[in-house]
């Protein structure tokens, strides 16, 4: 009798705890994405009449503009991820291994500070710095490097600077975590055995930090790919970023079917890259995500 009661109260508790989780995951993630998939396979044949079809995807492949923007977004995101890694690794290494105690903690905190402020504010800063009437072009003229102020906004390099800047945090934190846990004596041993800086980095440090590197790269790539704010403000009207195409279809043109197809293509690209990243580094998704 009492055992039956504790069992039924256990089930009650289980369902009470399951309910919010299922409501969240199915109501806000699974069903909306299934719906988005359905929407992307819909063709409009007349007012309020739809049939199943691949029209939206056909448009994507037939129209060079969409395809070009898609590839461009993917390539720029990859470059941005690589640059972020190259910039963040020495910093994470310095914080984790070259400094000690208070200095290390202080440096880590200082690196995180800018990311407490909104991306909008950071982008505003870059706009004031880089636009033709802005701070840096003015500085270049004062220094005599250019005769007249140059427009530094609206270039691909500008978008890259903005994307790398905004992604740094998501790279530094997992890198620091994985480098911190590397035992110093392993590095010393590698040197004692005759390794030089490069071989130690390649055979000891990077293999150990791989989960952190993977985690950082996956998150940064995903965030850059899905970025709208930085790309559209620093890249201007011609930034040709894929999220802008999605926004245009969904909000401006109200062509939800087309927008859904674009959204799905972006999601597919992002998922494939995450999968490739996990494969190349031999990591498991759950382990990697717990590091971010």
């Amino acid at each position: 009798m009492t055992e039956a009661r504790t069992r039924s109260s256990h089930y009650l508790l289980l369902w009470l705890l399951l309910a919010p989780a299922l409501l969240w995951l199915f109501g806000l993630i699974v069903l909306p994405h299934l719906d988005l998939a359905l929407l992307s396979f819909r063709e409009r044949t007349g007012p309020g009449e739809y049939v199943f079809g691949l029209e939206q995807y056909r448009t994507f492949f037939a129209e060079p503009l969409y395809w070009d923007v898609f590839v461009r977004t993917a390539v720029v995101s990859l470059v941005a991820t690589a640059l972020t890694l190259l910039l963040a690794f020495p910093i994470a290494w310095t914080i984790a291994k070259l400094t000690r105690g208070r200095l290390s903690a202080l440096l880590f905190a200082v690196c995180l500070i800018p990311f407490w402020v909104s991306e909008t504010v950071r982008t505003l800063g870059w706009m004031i710095l880089l636009r033709e009437t802005g701070v840096l072009p003015g500085l270049l003229v004062t220094l005599g490097l250019t005769d007249a102020p140059v427009e530094m906004l609206y270039h691909d390099a500008t978008i890259l600077v903005g994307l790398v800047y905004t992604s740094l945090l998501f790279m530094v934190v997992p890198l620091y975590g994985s480098l911190e846990s590397l035992d110093d004596s392993l590095i010393e041993a590698a040197y004692d055995l005759g390794g030089n800086g490069w071989t130690v980095l390649r055979t000891v440090v990077i293999p150990h930090a791989l989960p952190g590197i993977t985690a950082g790269c996956i998150v940064v790539f995903m965030l850059t790919l899905g970025n709208y704010l930085t790309a559209s403000l620093l890249g201007g009207k011609n930034s040709l970023w894929f999220t802008e195409q999605i926004y245009t279809q969904f909000i401006t043109r109200f062509n939800w079917e087309q927008g859904a197809a674009f959204g799905f293509l972006l999601l597919a690209l992002s998922s494939v890259m995450v999968w490739i990243g996990l494969r190349l580094s031999g990591q498991r998704f759950a382990d990697v995500m717990s590091r971010t």
């Binding site: 505003l124 995903m222 704010l229 759950a286």
Partner: protein, 286 residues
């Protein structure tokens, strides 16, 4: 440095220079934004024209609307606070029930569910936004067709913004709270049960107080991330714009330094929040 390894002087110098250059890169945009909030010129651009507080308090003779008089901007700050409060509340409550579900319960499909809980973190924010927008409209249309109900909150607007942000912020809250619950020493609870405490009493006096740092920490992070969210919000926003969307609109049109003034306000608020959290950490440690 790892003490036993010799490092030539030029490598040390290069490290110091690299770190300094990196810090310059990090802080230059923020310092610029802050400085031009106090520049006595109609646009946030050099040269420096002298110090002014016009962009905060306004100056009618020059036709400058300061931050404290800019009702549109102040309204959008309130909107953001409203959204962030709801998002924080929902994320922390569901994050806590999720933590108990994953750490204390054993059921079939649990590992699949825990994997599914990480998925929102790798979906780009724009996609979360449009999928929820499309799904909510479909449900609203369906309810309209079937019952003739007009379900306003499923149309673009603040309730949808809250749902959109919550969809991935719950995942962050769940991770943080679960991590702390995992380290909890169950014998403390057992001792309380042995002393005759009820389930609720144990939860209220032992388990939840133990979770407090994680609850406060994740609440602060979720609040901040909600306040700063742009990608998901942009897709779901209706007539009332939160601050980030409002700022974005004005930045496209070439705005006055009043945006710099808002930014200074945001920096001060974030710094205060960070200090508050760090002091809380220190007090617990002592």
């Amino acid at each position: 440095m790892i003490p036993s390894l010799p490092r030539p002087w030029w490598l040390r110098l290069a490290t110091v220079l690299f770190v300094l250059a990196f810090l310059l890169f990090l802080f230059m945009p923020l310092a610029t934004v802050a400085a031009f909030a106090f520049n006595d010129a109609p646009y946030p651009a050099p040269p420096w024209q002298g110090f002014t507080l016009d962009w905060f308090i306004g100056n009618e003779s020059l036709g400058r609307t300061g931050l404290f008089r800019d009702e549109e901007l102040l309204g959008s700050i309130l909107t953001s606070l409203f959204v962030a409060s709801w998002v924080t509340l929902l994320s922390i409550v569901i994050g806590t029930t999720n933590a108990f579900l994953m750490e204390r319960m054993r059921f079939r499909g649990q590992s699949l569910l825990s994997l599914l809980m990480l998925v929102p973190l790798v979906i780009p924010g724009v996609i979360l936004g449009i999928s929820i927008l499309a799904f909510a409209s479909r449900v609203a249309d369906l309810l309209g067709d079937l019952f003739g109900w007009e379900v306003e909150f499923l149309r673009p607007g603040l309730p949808l913004v809250v749902l959109g942000q919550v969809s991935y912020l719950i995942a962050i809250a769940t991770l943080t709270i679960s991590a702390r619950l995992k380290r909890f020493d169950r014998t403390l609870e057992e001792a309380a049960y042995n002393l005759g405490a009820s389930r609720l009493a144990v939860l209220g006096t032992i388990t939840l107080p133990y979770l407090r740092p994680a609850l406060i920490g994740s609440a602060a992070i979720v609040f901040l991330m909600s306040f700063e969210n742009f990608n998901t919000t942009l897709m779901l926003v209706g007539a009332d714009s939160p601050l980030t969307v409002m700022m974005y609109g004005r930045m496209r049109d070439g705005a006055t330094p009043v945006l710099n003034a808002v930014s200074v306000f945001l920096m001060v608020a974030s710094a205060a929040l960070a200090l508050l959290l760090m002091r809380g950490d220190d007090r617990r440690r002592n």
